[in-house]
């Protein structure tokens, strides 16, 4: 135990030295949801990168997928007296009181990637994409590609109850509404993971006559799509042609699949939410410029026509 104390002591010293070297830098607390997916890891990497480039001292707190941990982190940031707070909220509800505390302490809060239900004056701005919009971009692509042909679609949902799962499902359903040629025949959760994506797709294939009844797959994220593509291949079908595959996120691996002709389209959710956030923060700090309440990132649609191999090369080192 003595050695442990010594260790902690050494830590005190080291962190004091580090602090003195960045006295001028702003201190920003960043409460991240966790590291549940490659996309999330890339967002963390990019946020750290962006902070470093700007000389910001970033206090990173991982919430392990728990809202209570994020609230704890925010309160600790406030107690510590940081200059600003970034938060990627795990769920939309339940932020009122802690955001009020931050407001009372005059600490600006910027939301990343997901929205909250709270009053708009409780945060500076939100940077993110519109999850419903993402779903409808994917749905619109399918509508356009089919051009009126009959099609049975199976859907791999995200984690039951999570906001991307709900919104991406809604967006997709809105886009295909009124197109009677497209029928959503099965929908199950794949928990946003490859393993479950593969397992659920296997059952879909069995349940729908070995896959003959399925013409397209819509997955709420690329990871599930990657798993499902393997299941389709193992069933002796060709993903990308026998069964169309459209998903969301645009992680590097889906571009490899697209390059191989096994996936058809993906909707990008950029992991660089921190860049615009820091820009808005800098402007606000400088002369009090109020940024717009929602800074929407582009939900770009990538198809096989967009040189997927090149995109892959460009994305693969971003920490996905």
């Amino acid at each position: 135990m003595i050695s442990k104390k010594a260790l902690v002591g050494a830590g005190v010293l080291a962190s004091m030295l580090m602090m003195s070297s960045s006295v001028m830098a702003q201190t920003v607390g960043f409460s991240q949801i966790g590291s549940e997916s490659g996309w999330r890891a890339a967002e963390t990497t990019l946020t750290l990168q962006q902070a470093k480039e700007r000389g910001i001292d970033l206090k990173f707190a991982d919430a392990q997928q728990k809202q209570e941990n994020q609230i704890k982190a925010l309160r600790s940031f406030i107690a510590q007296g940081v200059d600003a707070i970034l938060i990627a909220p795990v769920v939309a509800t339940g932020w009122d009181s802690v955001l009020e505390e931050a407001k009372e302490a005059e600490i600006p809060v910027i939301l990343l990637d997901r929205m909250v239900d709270s009053s708009k004056d409780l945060y500076l701005t939100a940077v993110g994409s519109d999850l419903v919009h993402e779903g409808s971009v994917a749905g619109q692509w399918l509508v356009d590609t089919l051009a009126g042909k009959d099609c049975n679609v199976v859907e791999l949902q995200g984690t039951t109850g999570s906001s991307p799962a709900i919104d991406r499902k809604n967006g997709f359903e809105q886009a295909i509404k009124g197109h009677d040629n497209i029928k959503l025949i099965r929908s199950q959760t794949g928990d946003f993971t490859r393993t479950k994506g593969k397992e659920v797709m296997e059952s879909f294939l069995k349940a729908e006559g070995g896959g003959k009844n399925i013409c397209a797959l819509y997955a709420h994220n690329d990871d599930m799509a990657v798993g499902a593509i393997q299941a389709i291949k193992e069933a002796g079908l060709k993903p990308g042609s026998d069964i169309l595959v459209v998903s969301i996120d645009a992680v590097p691996d889906i571009f490899q699949a697209m390059a191989a002709g096994e996936a058809n389209a993906t909707v990008e959710l950029t992991p660089n939410m921190a860049g615009p956030a820091f820009d808005a923060l800098a402007a606000y700090m400088k002369d009090g410029t109020m940024p717009p309440k929602f800074i929407q990132t582009e939900s770009k649609l990538y198809t096989q026509a967009d040189d997927p191999q090149a995109v892959y090369e460009q994305k693969k080192d971003l920490g996905y």
Binding site: G38, T193, S203, F204, K206, G210, G236
Partner: protein, 342 residues
């Protein structure tokens, strides 16, 4: 011959349960039993149950031994993640198939060693000791993959997840071989009896000269090794190591499998084959839910209700009542005597 009859009597409840669950599925989904050959590999829902059940079955093998000693291993899910990460890392770093596999298995053994040392030499209660690795293990796995899904395209490695041998998917073969091997080792040697002795009375076993501590460590290492195999299969299946999700909550499924298999959580007498059937029952329930087409929000509730029914039917009290109904009164009186003994 009598040995076989004894075995059959031991696993009969599990077999009946499995048959009932499968029967239920086939009523809801008539195409259930269709099996065909596709790409030189057996293809069909029953095959899926075996194939998808393989990781839990592997975990259940190790878990059975651990539970037989009166312990529990909550860390196996995390160990799966660690070993999958090691396997993916090794293959992407170009260490070659065999060294990579050995590294992954060694990682599993090391995790088991850690658990075993905490339990056997520091005397920490198993549930707490393995909770430590359950919490930290996923972090270690992420440390290896640096938070990303570490993908690979090594055909040799992929074989362990989605390949097949003589039309049988590899995970099934690995699970069956491991089950057979461990059963053979445990029952042909004296290990089985010694493990049971430890589980029933640790101190008396030590005094009889049984190397209790070393055996305990060995049992946790076996559990780690089984988790490593499961981790390799899980990683090879999706061609990547998903440190966050690989084996998530599978420790609970494995424990359930062992309990459905009729091994007491208090330790003592165990049956590996019954645990394996237990794993199949759980996977059959899972697959049945997927085939049923219910909305996903009902998944958990269906699973919970089915498992609850199975467990209640297997509970000692209900069994006593069933035995009472089916055998002579005299027999039941004997049972009662055992219960009353202070």
């Amino acid at each position: 011959m009598t040995g076989f009859k004894l075995l059959l009597r031991r696993i009969l409840p599990q077999l009946i349960t499995l048959a009932l669950v499968v029967g239920l599925i086939s009523i809801m989904f008539p195409g259930f039993f269709e099996i065909s050959l596709a790409n030189g590999r057996l293809y069909g829902s029953p095959v899926d149950i075996f194939n998808r059940g393989a990781p839990v079955a592997l975990l259940a093998i190790g878990m059975t031994l651990v539970i037989a000693t009166g312990g529990i291993d909550l860390s196996v899910g995390a160990v799966m993640a660690i070993c999958g990460a090691v396997a993916a890392w090794g293959i992407t770093e170009g260490y070659g198939l065999l060294p990579t596999l050995l590294m992954a298995l060694a990682a599993g053994l090391a995790c088991g060693l850690w658990n075993g040392l905490l339990v056997a030499f520091l005397g920490i209660q198993p549930i707490v000791a393995t909770l430590i690795l359950m919490v930290a293990g996923r972090g270690i796995a992420q440390l290896i993959t640096e938070g990303a899904i570490l993908t690979f395209n090594h055909e040799g490695m992929i074989f362990f997840g989605s390949g097949s041998l003589l039309t049988v998917p590899t995970p099934i073969i690995i699970a069956i071989l491991t089950g057979a091997l461990v059963t053979l080792i445990v029952r042909r040697s004296a290990l089985g009896m010694l493990i049971e002795a430890i589980g029933i009375n640790f101190r008396a076993s030590t005094l009889a000269g049984v190397n209790t501590r070393v055996l305990l460590v060995a049992v946790y290492m076996t559990s780690g090794l089984c988790a490593a195999l499961a981790g390799i299969i899980a990683a090879a299946d999706i061609r990547g190591a998903d440190a966050n999700n690989a084996g998530l909550w599978l420790e609970l499924d494995a424990i359930l499998a062992v309990v459905i298999g009729g091994t007491s959580l208090l330790g003592g007498r165990f049956s590996l084959i019954a645990s394996l059937i237990g794993a199949l029952i759980i996977q059959a329930v899972n697959t049945g839910i997927l085939l049923s087409g219910f909305p996903p929000e009902f998944n958990l509730i269906i699973k919970a209700v089915i498992i609850l029914i199975i467990l209640v039917l297997q509970s000692p009290r209900v069994r006593t009542v069933l035995a009472f109904l089916s055998t002579a009164r005299a027999d039941a009186a004997g049972q009662e005597k055992k219960v009353v003994e202070p």
